[in-house]
Symmetry: C2
């Protein structure tokens, strides 16, 4: 029997890279899907291409979805990305970087691609710990989408297969995600996480996403290999976050 | 209390125009969403703009989603649109005009827009009778999406409201949809239904969508006001379909 296909939502960040590496380790042939949704941090797309190449995916599709026509988020509208929020406060409320219905839109596109690619397994790098308080990263949400997928599709009608939504990082802390990624051979230097990179694509180190990433690397006792703006003269971005 | 907002998925076809007119009659302020997804029949978009204007919508957004990057349908790929299929055979299988996960993608975008517009009611012109055999037009599918919507969003987390998916045409035949639309004052001459229009945008009269539309008008004893290619010299497209 040939290895089964899986669709993996690949943003270019460290979570989706690790989830993809997990899918590969689980024996799936990877079909990567990256959504270009008008995010300010388009540098993510270059990261997604690098990560896809490094993982040896069988196919990589980039779908344009102009979410700026809907707006309502700091990532797709003229709202400022907040910086220097306390890490402890993250997850308490839904931040302005929440993109309305983003994961539902992304999973829908992944579902369409899965039908075309003959895949029944969809991987997403969502995690519910050390997350930013997004409603569409919660386990009950992902279960509901899986149920929907099996009603929405040819396969659901024909009964030829059952869709499964895999979120292998769901219960992991950022530290554990980094450790898992390292164990799976993910090259984190290829990834991009920052919501507010500078013109040359360097991470800010101050938005929620950067802070959670840096905290994860710090707790794992590792050095984050990506460049942070304003921290060039230090040994690493990590040491400086504590100093 | 001001009238509540509703998001209506407006394709430019007769079903969504009627569903929108129903939402208006039900007292909602209409926020129309049209998805430009790479469909061959881009003439639909002009129809959507005309219909939106005629309904007096408060807002109309057009979102570009490049589903040609995924393909897999006669509407988004290089697959031929079938013509002259027997009407009785439609609904028996899923035709090549099925766009993988289309309604899931559309409803996801509508959900994002609803969050931004402060709407909890989403209208879709899906119908399960006289339909083309699409899995994502079935009542159990729509119920599953409603459940998902309430887990996917700020409102779902905050408990500030409950999303409802309205499919007012779900149990209507095409004939009944046309009669409902006429009663609600829909100007069907503004709508476009055909999957394979000619260069000037005239309907073919032969694809599944045209055939179901023509059958509906015929059964309602009405003349379809839109132009059909090759039928210019007749009184109407209807009479000629029976001759």
């Amino acid at each position: 029997m040939p290895a089964p296909n899986a669709v993996i939502l690949l943003s270019g960040g460290m979570d989706s890279a690790t989830a993809a590496a997990q899918a590969r380790a689980d024996g799936f042939v990877l079909h990567a899907l990256t959504v270009r949704y008008g995010q300010r941090h388009a540098v993510e797309l270059d990261a997604a291409r690098r990560v896809a190449r490094s993982l040896g995916v069988a196919d990589h599709r980039v779908v344009n979805v102009d979410l700026t026509a809907i707006g309502g988020s700091a990532l797709t509208d003229t709202i400022e990305v907040p910086l220097d929020r306390a890490v402890d406060a993250m997850g308490q409320d839904i931040p302005v970087t929440y993109v309305p219905a983003r994961n539902t839109i992304f999973l829908s596109l992944a579902l369409g691609y899965a039908e075309v690619a003959g895949a029944f397994d969809i991987f997403i790098g969502a995690n519910a710990l050390d997350y930013s308080g997004y409603p569409d990263c919660r386990p009950e949400y992902l279960r509901a989408f899986e149920q929907l997928a099996n009603l929405a599709t040819r396969a659901g009608v024909a009964g030829t297969g059952r869709f499964r939504i895999h979120a292998p990082l769901l219960d992991l802390t950022k530290r554990q995600i980094i450790e898992r990624g390292v164990a799976l051979g993910v090259d984190f230097s290829l990834t991009h996480t920052c919501y507010a990179p500078d013109e040359s694509g360097r991470a800010c180190g101050r938005c929620d996403a950067c802070q959670l990433r840096l905290k994860g690397f710090r707790e794992a006792g590792l050095v984050d290999p990506v460049a942070y703006a304003g921290l060039e003269t230090r040994d690493s971005g990590l040491a400086t976050r504590d100093s």
